[in-house]
Amino acid sequence: MPDLTAMGGLNTSLLIGLQALEVSQGALNVTSNNIANSNTPGYTREVPTISENPETLSGGIVTGGGVSLNGIQSVRDELLNLQIQQQTSAQSSADTQSSALAEIQTNFSTTGNDIASTFSAFSSSLAQLSASPSSAAAQESVISSGQNLAESFNTAANSLTTEQSAMNTQVTQTVAQINSLTQQIAQLNGQVSQLTAAGQDGGTVEDQRDQLVQQLSQLTGISVTQSSDGEVITTGNGTPLVMGSQSYSLQTTTGSDGMQHVLDSNGTDITSTLQGGQLGGSIQIRDQVIPGYLSQLNTLASQFASAFNAAQAKGFDSNGKAGQNFFSVPASAASAAAGIAVSITDPSQIAISSNGTAGSNGNVANLSAALTNALPSGQTPSQAYASLVFQVGNDTSNASTESTAIGQNLTQLTNQQSSVSGVSIDEETTNLIRYQTAYEAAARIVSTIQQLGTVTLDMGSSQSY
């Protein structure tokens, strides 16, 4: 601040007026920028930092030194941002699981082609056979309803595998998105720390970075800490993703189970440690939920097939031969449900008779009992299936309840964040009026000083009054 006191009071006033004009202009800039970005996602409102200048002492009198605009500050709450990131990860994981389960559960609803419906049709076809053991129609209906039952097992197993491979594809895609985001974040991180080092507010760059970190938290659970180099971002388990301006890429590779495994930058398999976000949700469904359902379905299919085949073996078919296997299941237990099929083709091969005569229905009771007796698992086939239905329904309902609950939590946090950082049109309009008035008043000071200056200069002229 040059010492202008020597030039007299009017110049000082002029300078103060000029400063006031500049500050009002600066504040108006901030206000108009806030209004312009009021609907920009991730925008953090800015406020001008205004302070008074040091006073001057002249001739024993202390005079005010005017005003200056020190800077423009973004109003943000880092703690809230962290909480929002965490909740976003949790919700995104629950959403991913909920939508995958919603697709899965349609195979377990009563549609007419589900296992419960085909199982009941098979059961009643056997009851019909008991009453009409020699009826060709009754025999044919046992074969066809048996085939329908096998097919509904196939369909349920295949749809689970399809969903599993969809989740697998999503893992690869999500990892690619994560890598692209961490690179951008690292770059912005560098810019932010340069600005901070220069004592400036990160402002726009920080907004952009926060926005990307927010997106990253949708993809996977992350933990964010501040260091001297800027933000440090790791996965929930501590695998580094971004450190300052350096990003670390994740990789995917096909594991021994045929699924995509996620490796950190050193090549360590971190698949099972990943939680939260789309990635965590997909991995949970792919590696835990679906294999669980599949294994129950496979156990049921293979145990039921052997129980029914054992009942077949107790009787004789219409040709008087010992009953052969009704169902065939693949040797591998892991594909029992996907591969179960009716292995006999001719209705005469159903072991209806207990004594070899064609009119006997003695073995039908054994066949029916295979449907209602407990399997080696300890449950009857219908109980085993019912508990699977319960589990699928319960998992689906829990995932969607969780998503709703987190969603409400997230809305509250976003409200809080918005109450700190959001642009209020009312507030900006009020500020606009304030700064406009201040600008007008400052302009009046300048014009007044100008008039006074003219009067002073005219004092020495020839013109007389």
Binding site: S117, S124, S130, G359, N361, G393, S397, V420, G422, V423
Partner: protein, 300 residues
């Protein structure tokens, strides 16, 4: 405390929520079902698995009962005719054994008994919907055919096996008796004794006629005895039918309580959801356009 200036996300979330409630309520009213996918009510869905299977089975058991009832009734009425025929044969035999009847009358009685024998053979070969009723589990060949090698003149082509039909989850009702037990039992051989009676009447020996008539009478009492089985089966099937009807009602009402809506409740839910949704929309329309700018008079 600064107030959140941006109400849009909040209002949107509220409206989506109330819209979702309307959709759910509407879907329930439209389908009449509270549970369409397992997540709507996992426990009810699991119970429905058993209910679906039970319902289909009970339907089939009910059909089995009605088929079996007709079959058992057919068998019972056949045996009824046999009893009548045998009673008639016994009284004809008694008449023949009297000793006062002349030869040509005895021949006439013999012809009559021969007719009775034919009709009893026909009853023993009764079939129901193509199934022979008295051949054990040999249901496709006629149980009794004329045979010169057999002492009674008739060979039994059936076996001693029986069939039991499923009419309930743990309920199998035996629905037949093999012919060997009814018509050619050791305590009474229906066809054999009738054949012998014909022969005795033709030969005219009153003592022989008397002895053979006693044998026919024994066969008659055996048939009457065996016939009780069909009466029992019939009453067993009748009571099972009543049970199954009750079971159908139970299963239907269980299904209703598991997955169906309470219509009054659903209609109320729908109208409540609509009201809430309208209120949310009306509030949004009122609040959203308001800013200070609406109230500032533009400067000249």
């Amino acid at each position: 405390m600064r107030v959140n200036p941006n109400m849009v996300p909040d209002i949107l979330a509220d409206m989506q929520q109330s819209q979702a409630a309307v959709n759910t309520a509407l879907q329930e009213v439209a389908t009449g079902k509270r549970v369409t996918v397992p997540s709507d009510d996992p426990a009810a869905s699991a119970n429905m698995v058993q209910n679906t299977i039970e319902t289909a089975n009970v339907d089939q058991y009910t059909q089995n009962v009605s088929t079996m009832l007709s079959m058992v009734q057919t068998a019972d009425s056949s045996l009824g005719s046999v009893v009548t025929s045998l009673t008639q044969a016994v009284s004809l035999g008694t008449e023949g054994a009297n000793g006062t009847i002349n030869g040509s009358n005895l021949q006439a009685i013999a012809t009559q008994v021969q007719g009775i024998l034919q009709s009893v053979v026909a009853q023993a070969n009764t079939s129901y919907q193509g199934t022979y009723l008295f051949g054990g589990t040999e249901t496709t060949t006629a149980p009794y055919t004329a045979s010169s090698s057999s002492s009674s003149g008739y060979a039994y082509n059936g076996n001693d096996a029986v069939n039991s039909v499923a009419v309930g989850d743990d309920m199998n009702v035996q629905v037949n008796l093999p012919g060997s037990q009814i018509f050619s039992n050791s305590s009474g051989d229906v066809l054999g004794s009738l054949s012998s009676l014909v022969t005795a009447l033709q030969s005219g020996n009153a003592t022989t006629i008397g002895n053979v008539t006693t044998a026919v009478s024994a066969a008659l009492s055996n048939v009457s005895e065996q016939r009780v089985f069909y009466g029992n089966a019939e009453s067993q099937l009748n009571s099972q039918e009543t049970y199954l009807q009750q079971e159908t009602v139970n299963l239907t009402s269980q299904q209703t309580s598991l997955v169906d809506i309470d219509e009054a409740q659903a209609a109320t839910d729908l109208s409540q959801a609509e009201t809430a949704n309208n209120a949310a929309e009306a509030a949004a329309a009122k609040v959203l356009p308001d800013t200070l700018l609406n109230y500032l008079v533009p400067t000249q």
